[in-house]
Symmetry: C2
Subunit: 358 residues, 2 copies
């Protein structure tokens, strides 16, 4: 209840007076303390890993999963891997509006970052993967991704790389045949559950008030006051629910629409998975960690810059016209979500050699 | 002259007696000293960089070149980069028999490692690139690689990533427009000139006799005695001349030939560049650094394992049938050429963000 009240309270402040008042509000010592308390009630700092009791993060699984994450030889064209779309150079994305997969096939949605993604309630824009483990397994027989006819043929490729057997055995002890697609998913999942990026905002949430700038604090205040945090809350600022994209008007009226998009038909989000009209234009609320360094934006990559994306979201979802100062402050806040990438993501592993298997 | 004599001398020894004698020969102290001296006359340890007076390796160029090496947004499908084929996970190769490029197009030759390649006398199997700089520039308008219509459109993409301007200015000071395809080549070249991998064999060549095993020394002795080092000599054990692939018989009779290969026609090596029949089946002698960890082998990736490649080369080029012990010893020697990859190759750089440009 506090959270809702606080949003309303701050909203009143902003609407009733000017943006400058917000600034003076948070610059007062009491305001600083209050802002932190409000933020702590809405957001949470990153845990050390995204481990759960069913999805343990063991060293052996992470080491195997790291190798498999970068492994290209399990794909039919020999070029696809998790890392192929989730590149360290671009904070776990590929910096494309829409991606390119097996044999140069166009993937019709923007690649979300793999960083921190394990902390979301589901994977993919439509949420049609319950967790990162399922996502990794189902990519194997996907024509756009690894391109295998079925899981068995993916397993055959994995087993043709002799160096993996010992790694699978260590990660999944006691199994008569540990080199399986299921364990591929569990290992990659374990690895991805360690791909978290602690950011200045985490230090702030832990009580270090000077971890983010005054401008970022103004942005944080506005982010909560204006209602952005109604959906973009929690540990990754999103990724906990579905929402209709385009509440006040059709999303494509603001994000722009290309001829290509018109040609292939509107992306109706979750509807494509459920075929239920009530799911039309419902998308998983995107997490916002590293959002400043992972353009372009939205499921179709239709918007190139973060200020524009912020402006559009406020209008589309909250019916609010942000001022330039608002946008600038909120972007400064979002900048504090840019974290440090783990070394075992930025460093490529050396993979076991094998006879040519494709 | 010494080199030729030494090969003949050792050749006599081996032919005149048995392979066991070679082993006892090099295990004697005098033999050890002699072997090292012979090796030092044929091979050279890696320099610190492959810098030349015309191709200076400055920190600013290497930093820029490293970013550009991993940069995908200058390709028309947004997925191609130098690193795309020359991956750290596979010691600067892509572990495919033949590679896959822009839009999934098949590249008809095996990707050679980028590691130490700057020390070769020319680039590509046919030697149709004078150096790594020219290779990097000419990849930009190649339909199989970056796919740009011309250099100007590649430059346009580069200039659309604002973060690069300052890096180019620093690397190429005083130029009115430093963001050019030519400087792309010079920067990537400078970076590649630092991608050298010091190996146990370098320590051996520097006089540390215990840096490689006795078995490897036997292999080294045979490698020189049997004549392999006639072509595979110098600092990268090759890469200094062209040779006909298949001197004693057609190469495909031993490497195997696939239906696919028959369909597309024989690869006649340098002939495809010069259209001169005397160049038919002439290929650049491949360097051998990291050969043990970069299967599959030969220009078409037709041979899967190193022992098989060694056996075939001895037969095809020298008319010699190697014993299993010979192959095993020579492979043990080749293992000592597996070096340490530089950190600035294994670690992916974070690239400057930009609006979507493809």
């Amino acid at each position: 209840m506090f959270r809702k009240n606080s949003v309303m309270f701050a909203g009143f402040l902003v609407l009733g007076v000017s943006a400058v008042s917000v600034s003076s509000f948070v610059s007062a010592d009491n305001g600083e303390v209050d802002l932190l308390a409000r933020a702590q009630s809405v957001f949470k700092p990153l845990p050390k890993t995204a481990e759960t009791s069913e999805r343990p993060v063991t060293q052996a699984r992470v080491e195997l999963g790291r190798a498999l994450f970068f492994e290209t030889r399990v794909s039919t064209d020999g070029k696809q891997s998790c890392a192929q779309c989730h590149q360290p150079m671009f904070y776990g994305t590929d910096a494309l509006a829409e991606s390119v997969g097996n044999q140069g096939k166009r993937i019709p949605r923007n690649v979300p970052s793999v960083l921190n993604t394990a902390l979301q309630f589901a994977q993919h824009y439509g949420g049609n993967r319950v967790d990162v483990e399922e996502q990794a397994v189902k990519a194997l027989p996907s024509g756009l991704a690894y391109g295998n006819a079925d899981l068995a043929s993916a397993e055959q490729k994995l087993r043709a790389i002799p160096g993996y057997r010992a790694m699978f055995e260590k990660a999944f002890p006691g199994q008569s045949e540990p080199v399986t697609a299921e364990n591929w998913g569990l290992a990659i999942g374990a690895y991805e559950r360690t791909l978290l990026t602690p950011a200045p905002f985490d230090n702030y949430l832990k009580g270090n008030s000077s971890a983010i700038s005054r401008k970022a604090k103004r942005g944080l205040d506005k982010f909560m006051s204006y209602g952005c945090s109604g959906c973009h809350s929690g540990v990754v600022l999103g990724g906990q629910m579905f929402q209709k994209f385009g509440i006040t008007q059709n999303y494509w009226e603001l994000t722009g629409s290309t001829e290509k998009e018109l040609l292939k038909g509107r992306d109706k989000g979750r509807f494509h998975d459920t075929k239920d009209e009530t799911d039309a234009f419902m998308f998983k609320v995107q997490q916002l960690r590293n959002v400043a360094v992972t353009p372009p934006y939205f499921h179709d990559g239709s918007v190139e810059t973060l200020p524009e994306a912020v402006r559009i979201m406020a209008k589309l979802q909250l019916g609010r016209d942000l001022s330039d100062a608002d946008v600038s402050d909120i972007v400064a806040f979002l900048d504090t979500l840019t974290g440090e990438m783990p070394e075992h993501f930025v460093n490529a592993p050396v993979l076991p050699i094998a006879p040519f298997i494709n």
